[in-house]
């Protein structure tokens, strides 16, 4: 994939001293959608606004299609944006909103009408051109914003939390629609969100941001399965952590003693030596709940259990460590009640070690 959008050492310091973006390097391939994911305040919007031209970078460069665009005014960058509150012009009709960019470029008459209708059709809003934005539902407004950005056939599409104003159900549906549309049109996209599920569904690759830097860049799968640090692990999905001690090394796995046994463990980048303390992560779906006393199982107790529909969520206590487990539900199989003694099994490949450190910051982990 050839790099289309390239951010180099991008930095933003606000006059009040806040360092919102602290040196970002990022390449987005042609037709690729990269999501900037991170807790609130980590600098996602600021990054996006620098690309759009609403903020001047304090340092670094932005290239699009091989040309520097950070030196261009925002109306010349060829990167259109879907705003968080949509920013639809309240005094213009849907048709005029969508056609605005073309009108500015002096496209008129039949050509304008054809293009606007095509754009409305693309987002499934045929026949609503005469409405005012206020007369549309949230999801429809969202589509107008999308059509308005797409109609200009931009080189780059920018999204700033476009779904945050929608309710949960609509959000899930729009995620898929945006993804389908973006792939159909094949347009390079940068997508800001603090919702990890949204990033997972939509993005080819995710850049997890933390305090103005990119903590990890990778496919959703890499981010989830091989998080680069504890923060990423905790921010993307739920992560159980237990303490462990390194007992040896075998090829590219560590042997870590944790939860009462030595276990082969993958590990995040870092320096490890035998006898070191490490933090060991286990995803909830890797914790299997089996009958107490089952062969080789870790002894545990149920603290709380809840039914989630297709699966059940268990809060468990094993050897003084709190663990969360999600287990698929089968019809007719009862939940283990609180206080029940159970056994826990974890696949060997499911452990991941991190250099022992502080507990992930609460606020950051929630986002």
């Amino acid at each position: 994939m050839t790099a289309d959008l390239v951010l180099r050492h991008l930095e933003k310091r606000f006059p009040n001293g806040t360092v919102a973006v602290d040196g970002i390097d990022l390449e987005v391939g042609a037709g690729e959608l990269v999501a900037l994911l991170g807790p609130s305040g980590c600098g996602k919007t600021t990054t996006l606004r620098m690309v759009a031209g609403f903020e001047d970078p304090s340092a670094g460069t932005i290239e699009l299609g091989g040309k520097r665009i950070d030196v261009l005014p925002p109306d010349r960058r060829g990167a259109t944006m879907v705003f968080q509150g949509y920013a639809l012009f309240p005094h213009l009709s849907v048709f005029e909103n969508v056609g605005y960019g073309l009108r500015v470029r002096r496209v008129g008459g039949q050509a304008l009408r054809d293009k606007v209708h095509a754009a409305l059709e693309l987002v499934g809003l045929e026949g609503l051109g005469d409405r005012r934005p206020q007369q549309l539902s949230g999801g429809q407004q969202q589509r107008v914003a999308l059509a308005r950005a797409l109609i200009l056939e931009p080189k780059l599409l920018l999204f700033d939390e476009p779904l945050s104003n929608l309710d949960a159900k609509l959000r899930e549906q729009m995620r898929l629609e945006i993804r389908t549309l973006q792939q159909r049109v094949g347009i390079t996209s940068l997508y800001v969100t603090h919702d990890q599920a949204e990033a997972m569904t939509l993005a080819d690759r995710i850049a997890v941001m933390d305090r103005g830097r990119i903590a990890q860049l990778g496919t959703p799968r890499e981010i989830y399965e091989e998080p680069a640090d504890r923060l990423v692990a905790a921010f993307v999905g739920h992560a159980n952590f237990t303490a462990g001690i390194i007992r040896g090394r075998r090829g590219d796995t560590l042997i870590v003693e944790t939860l009462g046994a030595s276990r082969p463990t993958s590990f995040a980048p870092g320096v490890y030596a035998e006898g070191d303390q490490v933090d060991v992560m286990i995803r909830p779906e890797e914790v299997h709940v089996v009958p107490a006393g089952a062969d080789g199982a870790i002894a545990g107790t149920v603290v709380a259990s809840s039914f989630l529909g297709g699966s059940a969520l268990y809060q468990l206590l094993a050897g003084g460590v709190e663990l969360q487990a999600t287990v698929p539900m089968e019809r007719g199989v009862p939940l283990q009640p609180a206080g029940a003694a159970v056994g826990l099994r974890v696949r060997d490949g499911a452990f991941r070690a991190f250099p022992a450190g502080s507990v992930p910051r609460e606020g950051a982990a929630r986002g």
Partner: protein
């Protein structure tokens, strides 16, 4: 906004606005100050001014002014609050609307109308006092003045409180009720504290308006002289410029202090815009006895307001109301046959020309302040506001002094009236437009830029349509203000251009109260007709206060 910053158009705009205010406002005020601190030979010397205030009469004038300002502001604020509380919490439906509109009525009164009908009703020959009750009364003096000023200015307070009360979230009151607070306690501990900025704003604005008021002190003040009327009389009666300047400078001080204190403490919250999002819930009604008390007060005042208006009409259509109540059209014949028709057309013409200019100056300044990064842009805001903060008589004096000699010899021309009107009313347009601009989410303009529009296109297609209503209401306000102002133009009239308010003053001076009332009636009709037509044509524009 970056697009705009990079746009040299902003710098050009800043220069144009700066030139306009330097010429129309800075230069005249500099002339007043110049006269205050320079002696006849142009040397720095404040002794002549200081000497004026070594005499007891001018000192009494200062004390009188402050006394009047404080009392009128207190009474006007309380009455306005009572009205707001009544319309918000004590009455509903058609009674509410009736009370609301009656409370706004005094805003469109030309300055003399209320004083005139007060004299008709409560004067030495008063219809009510002498006619009905055979009382010997004398409304001339502080009492009459306060009565008229309270009625004239309480609507300003009412509008401020009305907007604030409407923005109160009923959920807060429900929460207090839910926590066991009584209705009286809710008023005391929730409602009134939340309205505190309103009290400050209303008091300070009425204080400034009361000090600047010229018509009422001239008409009903009797021997109770205040700064504004003294400055006027110094020029008109004694041709003593230095004395007028002395009074003006002293008048400026408390006015500007109060005005800018209001701006700094209260800020934009005193500008009437409806932004509150009701979160559901119902405003709590008041306790029964309190409600009755409120209704008695506001009901009486409402009746009085209506009575005062009807009296103007009655005065216009009778020979001499209270003495000879024969119905007649003579007053109108006299007015329209004389220079009245000229005054009507002249005043309307000048007001109409100045109104859009004032609105545009307000718009240009507001845009500069809110949407550009021009260095020192907030200074523009404060300087333009001087046009409203400075008392009209001082502005008029400045314009008189500035434009009766070279290099800008303009006395007697229409231009000086237009300058006066524009400078005086642009501030309101500025405030309404600033409020409107602040309500436009910057992302709209960014979206426009993002779609490829330059700053000028964005302004024309997005910004302007969205603030159109505010600009328009600024223009309508300017027109009505221009038609009804006396203080600003009192010193500028010459036989070349006739101004209605000044003609009314002449009629009353000549004891022709009937034709004064006829003039006032015509003025009210013109203003109402213009406001209604403009609203019909351009859509509803709210009445604004804040200047």
């Amino acid at each position: 906004m970056i697009a705009i910053r990079r746009d040299p158009a902003a710098a050009a705009l800043a220069l144009m606005v700066a030139a306009a205010i330097a010429f129309g406002l800075g230069y005249p005020l500099a002339n007043v100050l110049g006269q205050a601190v320079l002696d006849d030979l142009g040397r720095f010397d404040v002794a002549p001014i200081v000497r004026i205030f070594s005499f007891p009469v001018p000192r009494a004038v200062v004390v009188n002014s402050l006394l009047m300002g404080v009392l009128a502001a207190t009474m006007g604020t309380l009455l306005g609050f009572a009205f707001a509380l009544t319309t918000a919490r004590a009455v509903r439906g058609p009674h509410r609307s009736a009370l609301h509109y009656i409370a706004l009525l005094p805003l469109i009164a030309p300055p003399f109308a209320l004083a005139l009908s007060t004299i008709f009703l409560f004067g030495r020959q008063g219809l009510l006092t002498r006619g009905l009750f055979h009382w010997e009364t004398d409304p001339y003096g502080l009492t009459g003045l306060l009565f008229v000023q309270t009625i004239t200015f309480f609507p300003v307070a009412y509008l401020i409180f009305d907007a604030l009360v409407r923005q109160l979230d009923p959920a807060l009151e429900e929460a207090a009720l839910n926590l066991g607070a009584s209705r009286g306690r809710i008023l005391r501990t929730v409602v009134i504290p939340l309205l505190r900025p309103g009290f400050a704003a209303a008091f300070l604005i009425i204080f400034v308006e009361s000090l600047a008021d010229l018509a009422n002190p001239l008409l009903i003040g009797g021997d109770f002289n205040v700064l504004a009327s003294s400055a006027y009389l110094a020029i008109i009666g004694e041709f003593d410029t230095r004395k007028a300047v002395a009074y003006s400078v002293v008048l400026m001080l408390p006015s500007l202090l109060a005005y800018f204190a209001q701006r700094i403490w209260v800020g934009e919250s005193s500008v009437v815009t409806v932004t509150g999002k009701p979160s559901g819930g119902r405003a709590q009604r008041l306790g029964a006895s309190f409600r009755v008390g409120l209704l008695v007060v506001t009901g009486t005042v409402a009746v009085l307001v209506l009575l005062l208006y009807l009296t103007v009409l009655a005065g216009a259509f009778t020979k001499l109301l209270g003495i000879d109540n024969t119905v007649t059209l003579d007053n109108f014949k006299f007015v329209l046959g004389g220079i009245g028709t000229r005054a009507m057309t002249d005043t309307t013409f000048l007001s109409a020309v100045a109104a859009p200019i004032a609105a545009l100056l307000g718009l240009a300044t507001a845009y500069l302040v809110v949407r550009t990064k021009v260095p020192g842009r907030t200074v523009f805001d404060y300087v333009v506001m001087l046009g409203a903060a400075a008392p009209g008589i001082v502005l008029g004096l400045g314009i008189l002094l500035a434009f009766n000699h070279r290099p800008f010899l303009l006395s007697g021309t229409a231009v000086i009236f237009i300058i006066a009107f524009v400078i005086r009313t642009a501030p309101v347009s500025l405030r309404t437009t600033v409020a409107a601009l602040l309500q436009i989410d910057p992302s709209l303009e960014q979206a426009s830029a993002n779609l490829g529009a330059g700053a000028a296109t964005t302004f024309r297609r997005i910004t302007l349509p969205l603030v159109r209503r505010a600009v328009l209401s600024g223009a309508i306000f300017s027109f009505t203000r221009n038609m009804t102002t006396l203080s600003t133009i009192a010193l500028l009239v010459t036989p070349n251009w006739r101004i209605m308010t000044s003609q009314i003053l002449n009629e009353i001076d000549a004891q022709r109260l009937g034709s004064g009332a006829a003039y006032s009636t015509i003025l009210i009709v013109i203003v109402l007709a213009a406001v209604i037509t403009l609203n019909r044509v351009f859509g509803k524009a709210p009445i604004e206060v804040g200047a």
